[in-house]
Symmetry: C2
Subunit: 597 residues, 2 copies
Amino acid sequence: MEKVVSRRNIKFLLYEVFGVEDLTKYEYFEDHSQETFDMIIDTAYKLGMDFMYPVFQEMDANPPEYVDGIVKTHPIVKTTMRDFGRDGWINAPMAYEYGGQQIPQVIQNVIQFIFTASNYSLGAYVSLTRGAADLIVHHGSQEQKDLYLEKMFAGEWQGTMALTEPDAGSSLSDIKTSAEDTGEGYYKIKGQKIFISAGDTDAVDNTIHMMLGRIKGAPAGVKGISLFIVPKYRIKDNGDLEYNDVFCAGIEHKLGYKGSPICQLSMGDEGDCRGYLVGEANKGLAYMFQMMNEKRIGVGIGATGKATAAYYAALEYANQRLQGRPLNEKDPNSPQIPIIKHADVKRMLLFQRAICEGALSLALQNAKYRDLVKVGEDAEKFDLISDLMIPVVKTYPSEMGILTTSTAIQCLGGYGFCRDFPVEQYYRDIRIDTLHEGTTGVQGQDLLGRKVTMKGGKAYQLAMEEVRKTIEEAASIDELKAYAAQLKDAQQVFSDVTDYLLAIKETGDKEKFQADASVYLEMAGVLFIGWQWLLQAVVAIKALPTAIDVDKNFYQGKLMTCQYFFKYEMPKLESLGKTLKTSDGLTVAMNAALFED
Amino acid sequence: MEKVVSRRNIKFLLYEVFGVEDLTKYEYFEDHSQETFDMIIDTAYKLGMDFMYPVFQEMDANPPEYVDGIVKTHPIVKTTMRDFGRDGWINAPMAYEYGGQQIPQVIQNVIQFIFTASNYSLGAYVSLTRGAADLIVHHGSQEQKDLYLEKMFAGEWQGTMALTEPDAGSSLSDIKTSAEDTGEGYYKIKGQKIFISAGDTDAVDNTIHMMLGRIKGAPAGVKGISLFIVPKYRIKDNGDLEYNDVFCAGIEHKLGYKGSPICQLSMGDEGDCRGYLVGEANKGLAYMFQMMNEKRIGVGIGATGKATAAYYAALEYANQRLQGRPLNEKDPNSPQIPIIKHADVKRMLLFQRAICEGALSLALQNAKYRDLVKVGEDAEKFDLISDLMIPVVKTYPSEMGILTTSTAIQCLGGYGFCRDFPVEQYYRDIRIDTLHEGTTGVQGQDLLGRKVTMKGGKAYQLAMEEVRKTIEEAASIDELKAYAAQLKDAQQVFSDVTDYLLAIKETGDKEKFQADASVYLEMAGVLFIGWQWLLQAVVAIKALPTAIDVDKNFYQGKLMTCQYFFKYEMPKLESLGKTLKTSDGLTVAMNAALFED
């Protein structure tokens, strides 16, 4: 592959659209500069292309094997964890006191984008470890920090999030894993976890599970869930490791994401599994959800990465493959042309580009908001907007990425279906993203049932205000007036639908109010990505007159892709609006008997 | 699995909607009756569930192996070919003179639907053999019929369609395989073919390739393509088989459809490959396209079958899986409910059902038209309508099936991603259907560039008239008035868009006229499936008052699914119409340099 992401586009978004170099004026980021950001990005890109991508298909073809309670993973996992640990890729965004480099989230997300585009499965070991460590950083005791963080950041120990159980998937309130206080500084853990990514691997010396469980006597439901550190090997006082009765009972055989094992874990089979409470009892879900937000953003970034790599694979093929002739050419002896000259192929490439670059833009927009929260700049406002946006940041590229990777296959014709080319793997790998860290259904409920209404609708109002600002700016530019008007209309439709749904909420019928939350989420996605395209178009149109030749093509390409989005994607918003305003409780009224025949 | 298709629905469509028992009044079908149809369908269903489905996942997990020029396929392929041959499943629709049973195409398509839902890869060997034999029946000489048909219909010899070459995929005019007349009743063949389904298998004694090639000195392009029978082993005068220099050079490793090999073939490496001309020289593409129409219908049926099986897997899971509580239920100690009670899950099931049953209905509508052509009932009219519909019959379930099988995965949550359940395989298997037998892009060009305009737009007018009749009938039924009005508006939008595009055609700019043909095809799909739902709703609403209890549920379920289609799918037509009327030649104007950065 020539490339898996465009660095030109990354830098366009970072500096020209979002001006993230301005973040370095805040104390937390003051040691950084655009140059250090660029260096980090270029190094990440080199790592991605030279180290991670070359084993992308190989790891898929040779997935982890489960042998007698041990999960054997590809040898490169061990190398990666150690090297990435040594070179600071695991803890890059952490504070200096944790050995981190205090890079902004927006840069961290770009790194994640590059790594996931290069090799999603391999990147997962790294990001899972960072996520688990992050929980300890935020909620762990000093002792816990001292015990676990160094080894995790060094890539010697793997981290996991251990939430799901056989009877508790989307319904986390049904977690059953039990914890009994021994009074000796630890809890006795007993239970089963499933679908635990990197839940066991022979690549590391230890696996640290950040596990949700229920202390005996705790209240039912979400209010009785606590967070524990449950290591595979616990650390004895002399520093030696001792087996902690965390048994990997098996791994799943999956459609994609095959380079990373998804494990079934059994704790306390021998009555000797110890868990260490993190923070306060019964507050586990709140702690976990802070990390969950980061993971959901990460899923969105990962989906965007995979979809982007698939797009570039399709683009490369379309430039090289000769097939057919222009429709106006009748002479069968004339040479065949590269398929990128066929309008239908260009349409398929523009579709992929519009989704991928739109989704990346939204993710980085969100990351910038979170960086502003971190430095205390209008923190409440940006925190609220980001909170509202996260279900979209997660879901839009995950759902649309199914279509874009499918379209990448389509660009390659029959070859797209074959393993000689990487696109079929992206299609399989991306399919997990609407499922893990909260399904699309769960994200829809989160957006409509919680985020839109929280604080009296303040987050919603603030986010709409941001969209409106972009519309106003674009409306003052001749070439963008029409798009500005189109987005303004779309926002009005979205607002009408929101009001319509909130009126149902007022009746107290929660079922009916949230029945089409997934459709509402889809609609929000179109609006937000349209916003991001208009934002990019404003920058591109201003830059165009004075740009050098190669940049002229880049900006012109941006404007054409924006045009694509407004002509081919934006009209969907109106039809989704119609559906939402006329679905009449159909899906509530439907019942199981009517599916029978 | 409890079931892969609904026999109740099949019989509803056959007898209640399309009244296909009336076909038995024509001489060609006069030996049949509704009872023989039912017997055939029930036997096919039993074969599907008891024989084909049990090896569905096994064939995927153990795909064909290529060993020294031989393709070793699963042992059940041999059994299937022989048993299905013996029992008349290969030649069921053929005339009595060929040992067939003269069953209508609509019944044949139902059998295909059941077989593909049960095990697509296994069914492919059978249908490919039938298709190849069909070409010999229609265009072969008596000698060729005598030599090949018996063994093919007996399942002793496999049939294939050998069109594609490395430089001739969508562009068939670039076929290079050469044929040199020896003057001894055969041609010397030399060339390469790729992507040949069942192109080699050790399950049979011989493989008969229906191969496109170019006779030396023939005109360039499509006008110089001839059709040949090229057997792997040619038949000597004494009946012995002799190797015919058709070498399988390898097989593809694929995303899905793994139970059937897709082969690379090399003919004439040793200068000893003989091909036997079928029909007249240089008319090969016309012959092949007759068969291609059947194959395209078959792809649509196959996609509908896979999508339907995935839907029933999701439905079964949704009925059994307990997770979560009603949104209005606050008590965490209350029991979890089957997920089919969640509105979002019902929405996902209704989506699958609306697409699958709508697509099946359209396919059977088309089959009935073709049966009427066969018996000479208003033959020109129904031939034209069917011709126009075929790109939709092929593409709608193939494209939408990607989404419905993806939605089936979504219904199962994380389990959907795992190989313990069959849905991920349907998702992989169905992905070939937008690619083979003409990609979606090719189908779009066929619909807009050829079918809509042929015979002065007569096919288009006739098809629209059929839709209009259904609208008028529905408009006279109170409960369906609103849907009738909605479909009428949709048809008007479709008509406006068609006029808009035809006006571009008048300017002579073929590129611009056909640039968005794929989008137009998508739009036609929504219109036709809406028509089929209205047609079904008319029958259901009339049957409801006097129905027995179990049938009441069935008809009520039909009406709810119709409602779903009109609320959630039909609005898409309008947004597609907007795109088509404002896409402004964007994809023609876009160029490769603007994709660079």
